[in-house]
């Protein structure tokens, strides 16, 4: 319950902080941090225009996508407070419930019959597939490390005994930040600001969505960011008391959003052909974590 409320609060201003950081770094003042949310509220008051060539898939996909992310959010714990849904092996369901939402978005993009959206769907499917091993090796390593196999148990028993385990926490944050960037199609893989339909990934898939549906999709993106931020914060909260863990949670979320803004300001996006190589790096970093865990547990002679 605690983590659900915290994530919902952060989702209101997460992309506002990214935009504000980018504005300041390019010498502009930029909009207030709640502006993206106000834009979403404006979209929610509008109706949707639906193409005649689409089927019911196109209409249910945004809501299904949103629901899948909400369900995933329900599984995120906050330190010692478990998520609303918590059971052994819940992180596997977490990964696949997100994949289910994404699958519906992909077939909804194909449903429109547009050649651009087909390209976007194929790219999204490819990168999501490449991300999966990184996520499972990462959480598998921590399950091995703590001897637990649910989000709540892993994080509540996670404590850093040696320097190597701090390193593991740092690497895990890096992997999760990058997974969040890929899942949300942000720089350096995709540029959410571009108007060029040939280069987009996520944006091109939602070209046909409008009004309420578009608002739902945009809010889901914010929610996903806040969700990954919460997951990252769990690596550091551990068994800290509530008064410390909540400010720490916000600090980590704001730091995460600022980092995204800084990355997006000072580098160019990758060539599309280089993206798969980059995504694979995450898998190798996760493997590094896995070997680190083996080292800590003394599995190496």
């Amino acid at each position: 319950m605690v983590s659900l409320l915290l994530i919902l609060v952060v989702s209101l201003f997460f992309s506002g902080i990214i935009i504000r950081t980018k504005s300041i770094l390019s010498g502009r003042k930029g909009p207030g941090i709640f502006q993206p949310m106000l834009d979403i509220l404006r979209l929610w008051r509008k109706g949707s225009v639906v193409s005649k060539t689409t089927s019911f898939i196109f209409q249910i996909a945004p809501t299904a996508y949103f629901s899948s992310v909400i369900m995933a959010v329900l599984m995120i714990p906050h330190g010692t407070y478990p998520g609303i849904i918590s059971f052994e092996g819940d992180f596997i369901m977490f990964a696949y419930i997100l994949a289910f939402g994404k699958f519906l978005m992909i077939i909804s993009a194909l449903d429109t019959g547009s050649s651009f959206e087909g390209m976007g769907a194929s790219r999204e499917a490819l990168f999501s597939m490449l991300v999966e091993p990184a996520f499972f090796i990462l959480l598998g390593s921590f399950a091995l490390f703590t001897g637990q196999n649910s989000f709540h148990d892993i994080f509540s028993t996670l404590h850093y005994g040696s320097q190597i385990s701090y390193l593991l926490g740092g690497l895990a944050s890096f992997v999760l930040v990058m997974i969040a960037m890929i899942e949300n199609s942000r720089m350096p893989l995709d540029d959410p600001k571009t108007h060029l339909e040939l280069t987009m990934i996520h944006e091109v898939m939602i070209l046909d969505n409008s009004g309420f549906d578009l608002g739902v999709i945009m809010y889901t993106t914010n929610l996903k960011f806040a969700m990954y931020g919460a997951l990252i914060s769990n690596f550091f909260i551990g068994m800290l008391p509530f008064e410390i863990s909540v400010p720490l949670f916000f600090a980590i979320q704001i730091g995460f959003a600022t980092a995204v803004g800084i990355i997006e300001s000072f580098m160019a996006r990758f060539r599309m052909g280089h993206n798969p190589q980059f995504v694979f790096i995450l898998t190798s970093v996760s493997l590094l974590i896995f070997f680190g865990v083996l080292l800590v547990l003394g599995k190496f002679a």
């Binding site: 980018k22 770094l25 390019s26 010498g27 502009r28 050649s115 651009f116 087909g118 390209m119 194929s122 720089m187 350096p188 540029d191 600001k193 571009t194 108007h195 060029l196 339909e197 040939l198 280069t199 997006e264 300001s265 000072f266 580098m267 160019a268 996006r269 990758f270 060539r271 599309m272 052909g273 280089h274």
Partner: protein
């Protein structure tokens, strides 16, 4: 070798129409093809037809960059007839012949790509419509087609791009234009006031206002036998180079936006503003409309303007150098630009590209050096040449040309302190003349041609924007590249839709 049978003229030299030899079509074709074949210093600057009583007179102009001459020859052919094409023997003539085919119904039996160019209002076959453009199609299960446009995603100008792709890889791109056709060449004949024609010239392409207007006024002054004083020439050099700086800087910003490099986009965007604002201070319009006029200068360039411009450069240059160093040392930016959209030397030679699209691949084509106009021969101009023909080369050319233009302007400002306001002169075009005016705009060679009748009225006014040649180079450059790299290739050429469509 066929006999030399052409009239050799220089840039902006009015010549009597009767001095241009009229050849038999086959000799005309042989000679012009042989003039170009195997000689990179020569290319076709213009090849067009016009109605002469019930026949079509074809005029071909081949520029020789080494001799600083333009070879003009002509041929008389029947309308709606079948001929052998020049394109079959040299691809330089490809689009020119398509245009002649479209306007006069001449059927070229061996032209490899005989498709409409722009669906002109006065085309020969009115039954052909833009909706029915015959696209090249790949009948394949594995390949897929992507059609972009005619409405541009950034809502700039309309054009349709048809890709044939194998997954993410582009195999073929066909560019179909014509949506911006306004009939400018016809309007030049219909509107008889000089002011009307100057305004038309300004609106051929909104990003090359100075370039096209300079081509027009140079042509008009020579056609009227008027010799403007040096001050006027220098003001045109200033305006041309300022336009080059402004557009190149804006293009660098746009390239940064396409590779999602935010810092570059915002800094270059900011740097363009003082330059266009200076044009506003000088001529009352940020796009320089109303500045260049035949025989006069409505907005004299004063010592105050000169001082102001140097101040602007003093603050422009350090920032430009700093952001350029950042951009050209950023690995993620370099990886997007290097080896993307390559057009080789052989390909640009075959296409006959001009301006930046030639210089990017080691082909030296710069009218400022080869056919100098407006006292450009008093400036020691050295074209910026790159060898790789990729996006990186095109961006590098812009970087270096901006700095070169600044030094040219500084040189000009030292020579001329105050530009005198010339007296209003009476100008009347001479009769039975042919004239050709070449100007190096920021994009490349601009060519305007005019022919007058007995009364000294315009009989033909032919315009050629550099985009006319260079669109084909864009189509070639994206082959075997990722489709997601198309926008940056397109932006690195930054070609004009309306300059092509006229």
């Amino acid at each position: 070798m066929t006999t030399v049978n052409y009239k050799s003229v220089t840039n902006n030299q009015a010549t009597a129409l009767k001095d241009i030899p009229v050849l038999e079509y086959s000799k005309f074709a042989d000679m012009n093809v042989e003039l170009i074949n195997g000689n990179p210093a020569r290319h076709c600057v213009n090849y067009f037809g016009y109605h002469l009583s019930d026949k079509i007179s074809l005029i071909c102009c081949i520029a020789d960059d080494d001799l600083h001459q333009i070879f003009v020859s002509s041929a008389l052919v029947e309308e709606n007839t079948e001929l052998e094409s020049l394109t079959f023997r040299n691809h330089n003539f490809e689009k020119f012949e398509r245009e002649i085919h479209e306007n006069f119904g001449i059927r070229y039996s061996d032209h490899p790509w005989l498709k409409p160019v722009r669906y002109a209002h006065n085309r020969f076959d009115k039954k052909q419509r833009i909706e029915g453009y015959p696209f090249y199609e790949a009948d394949s299960e594995e390949l897929h087609e992507v059609g972009v446009g005619p409405i541009h995603a950034g809502v700039i100008e309309p054009g349709h791009f048809r890709f044939i792709c194998n997954g993410e890889q582009i195999l073929h791109l066909e560019i179909q234009l014509g949506y911006q056709h306004r009939g400018i060449e016809q309007l030049f004949l219909q509107k008889t006031q000089l002011l009307e024609r100057s305004t038309l010239a300004e609106n051929i392409a909104g990003d090359t206002v100075v370039g096209h207007t300079t081509a027009f006024v140079n042509l008009w002054e020579s056609l009227c036998g008027h010799t403007p004083d040096d001050g006027l020439h220098y003001s045109r050099i200033l305006a041309l180079e300022l336009e080059r700086i402004a557009i190149h800087t804006g293009d660098l910003a746009a390239v940064c936006a396409d590779i999602a490099y935010q810092l570059g986009n915002s800094v270059y965007g900011r740097l363009r503003t003082p330059i266009v604002n200076f044009m506003q201070e000088w001529g009352g319009n940020r796009l320089s409309k109303g500045l260049i006029r035949a025989g006069k200068l409505n907005f004299p360039f004063t010592a105050g303007h000169s001082k102001r411009l140097l101040e602007i450069f003093d603050s422009f240059e350090p920032d430009f150098i700093e952001i350029t160093q950042k951009l050209f040392n950023l690995p993620s930016a370099l990886s997007r630009m290097e080896k993307t959209g390559v057009v080789t030397y052989d390909e640009v030679l075959e296409i006959g590209t001009v301006g930046m699209a030639a210089r990017m691949s080691g082909l030296s084509r710069d009218i400022r050096l080869s056919h100098p106009h407006n006292l450009y021969n008093s400036i020691k101009h050295k074209p910026v040449i790159k060898r790789h023909g990729d996006v990186y080369s095109r961006v590098q050319i812009r970087r270096e040309e901006v700095r070169q233009s600044i030094s040219h302007i500084k040189g000009v400002l030292q020579n001329v302190q105050e530009i005198r306001q010339p007296l209003n002169v009476e100008m009347n075009p001479q009769s039975r003349k042919f004239i050709l005016s070449l100007v190096e705009g920021w994009r490349g060679e601009i060519c305007h041609c005019a022919i007058t009748n007995e009364e000294g009225n315009l009989l033909v006014y032919k315009i050629k924007d550099p985009s006319h040649h260079n669109w084909m180079a864009l189509a070639q450059s994206v082959r075997n590249n990722d489709i997601s790299d198309f926008p940056i290739c397109n932006k690195s050429f930054n070609l004009s839709y309306c300059g092509h469509d006229l």
